[in-house]
Symmetry: C2
Subunit: 341 residues, 2 copies
DNA sequence: GATTTTTTGATTTACGTACATCAGAATTGG
DNA sequence: CCAATTCTGATGTACGTAAATCAAAAAATC
């Protein structure tokens, strides 16, 4: 049988109350006594029963998700996954709230974080906007004891406890290798459609993509990046225009959202050409396009996994428990038409 | 605040004892009274606090993992992951045991299942050997109320509650498309190295592979399957021999274990040739081969995820709780050298 | 040595559920 | 209507921990 607090008390020759004081870091225990108790804990291999403790404490985990107010499929999906998590919150003792802040607006994000720090959530998950002031605020909150995880987009250099998202540089590199290998031995030009170069994840994908393209596929030239602002209409216009004026395009890498517009442009302008296309994020549109061969591969991050992972990590951090790193690693999904879920 | 059994009792106008009898399906409650209680439960949205219930019951989850006694990297890895899970068992109230049975031996597996059914584990996870008698035994146990999940290799047509493994047909199809696209427009022959055609997962991978090859890449011919029995030595011999006598081989698909031998053969015999190689299972050997370009892509199933998923599902089934399907779906990982973990 | 302060012990209640017991009520059969 | 049976209520204990209270002991201060 697992040892309990009673066993510790008996083994250390102290009372239950003293064990409790040691376990919960309450004052009023002499140093030597504390050591006696800690020795007993180690010797018996005592592990606190978190379920019983939470029951006794009546603990709940008030968590906050901060999301950008962007209107694209991915963010909608993310929101949906959070709503699913809220439905499970009764069973998981969580109390989840989402807050929207203007996208790409560091000041608004900082203000929201400051405001949140006054009420005391036991954890914050945020889609980070990459700016020094955000970083500074996050560091401040972490020092003050708030568990914070970044979601989808990281805040490198900050002290956030965890990042629940994919490695975007690796994603870009993978896209490049897939596209390069699929196209070989053809020569030609590659169109890249991004949302905005102001967003860290897009910048990182592009960085990884261009690096591998340059190293390994010199026969393929990357055209200037088209910034579609994650908007289907703009994406459509930009891609249609690029295809119309440049007959040398053999491949397309879409590293942001707004793929609906991309797909429309491909179907209008590229019927007779054999373009190889790689896009990010599995949505109903990209899925259909993958199946009808308009798109050749989709790179995806599973929003559901990201949300569940963020919650698990925040709860663990709040309780001071370890996390299983391998479990919390968000993998880059590569979908061909054959392995769609 | 969440409603408790007390609230239910008050709302239904009955005593705590009666609510308890309803909740735990104990006898001694008239039909009308039972309905009153169930209505109250629904109206208040009562959800049983599983943590408190488990505490009161002193519940633990005795789980059994049945594994084939095969000596390959993948099974070693799987075993390691189970050991990791055993280390966590104190915190998760599990009591996990592994049992080895001779590989590919339906009779032994059936005997073990029969034996297990006498002691009463609250769940069984098994790497299934695909045979009618195994299927029948599993169905019998499921009917008797044992939660059973298959691990890595499924038992289609059986009543097992869940399969914690990848879709192997999809895996084979994906391998074919990757290989086909990487090789295009070359023509030539494809060598396929399998473990044994007696194992369902290998058969399924081959089935998916040949299907897509035939449909989409008619310029690539599949050579007769080499059965390496998941043994590095045999694999080495078979592949070395095939490469030596057939200069038309342009690609290799290794769908089983024993990749150490394959890699050695490739390095010896194919230095001057540009072979495209796709293999299954990420191990130290395949990882190194991917990095040094001996292998072009690795398809993988994450044993850690499979084990953790099996445990979650078994616990949920034992408690009659729902599982999050999307969370428990084991994905096919595709690794290029750029997205290695 | 008396007083104050700090440390410790003993005890109790609580969290939400499970489970057992026993008495009393309602229902059924004769 | 009485007896036998089937329900239901009331109550208590338990699970492992948290947290509070108050008394007692030990240590530190003067």
């Amino acid at each position: 049988m697992r040892p309990t607090v009673h066993d510790i008390a008996a083994a250390a020759g102290v009372s239950l109350a003293t064990v409790d004081r040691v376990l919960n870091r309450r004052p009023g225990v002499r140093h030597v006594t504390r050591e006696k108790v800690e020795t007993a804990i180690r010797q018996l291999g005592y592990i606190r029963d978190v379920a019983a403790a939470n029951l006794a404490k009546g603990r709940t985990y008030p968590l906050v998700f901060i999301l950008p107010a962007s209107d694209n499929s991915f963010m909608h999906g993310l929101n949906g996954e959070i709503r699913q998590a809220i439905l499970r919150s009764a069973a998981e003792r969580t109390d989840i709230r989402t807050i929207e802040v203007p996208a790409f607006d560091p000041a608004a994000l900082v203000a929201m974080l400051e405001e949140l720090s006054r009420e005391k959530p036991c954890g914050v998950a945020m889609v980070a906007t990459d700016a020094p002031e955000v970083c500074a605020t996050v560091d401040k909150l972490v020092h003050a004891g708030f568990p914070i995880v970044t979601l989808v987009s990281d805040l490198t250099g900050s002290l956030r406890h965890h990042y629940a998202g994919v490695d975007n540089i690796a994603a870009g590199r993978t896209a490049a290798r897939l596209l390069g290998r699929f196209l070989r031995p053809r020569k030609g030009e590659i169109a890249v459609l991004a949302g905005s170069m102001l967003v860290r994840d897009h910048r990182e994908r592009l960085e990884g993509f261009t690096a591998v393209m340059a190293e390994e596929f010199p026969d393929l030239a990357i055209l200037p990046v088209l910034e579609g602002r994650d908007d289907p209409e703009i994406a459509h216009m930009l891609v249609a225009d690029a295809l119309a004026r440049n007959a040398g395009i053999v491949g397309v890498y879409s590293l942001g959202a707004g793929n609906r517009g991309l797909i429309r442009a491909l179907k209008e302008k590229a019927v007779d050409r054999t373009l190889t296309v790689i896009a990010h994020e599995l949505t109903t549109h990209t899925r259909a396009a993958l199946i009808d061969n308009t798109i050749d591969a989709i790179l995806n991050q599973d929003a559901g996994h990201e949300v569940r992972s963020a919650i698990r990590v925040l709860k663990a951090k709040a309780d001071g428990l370890p996390v299983i790193d391998a479990q919390e690693r968000i993998r880059l999904d590569i979908f061909l038409k054959d392995n769609l879920p």
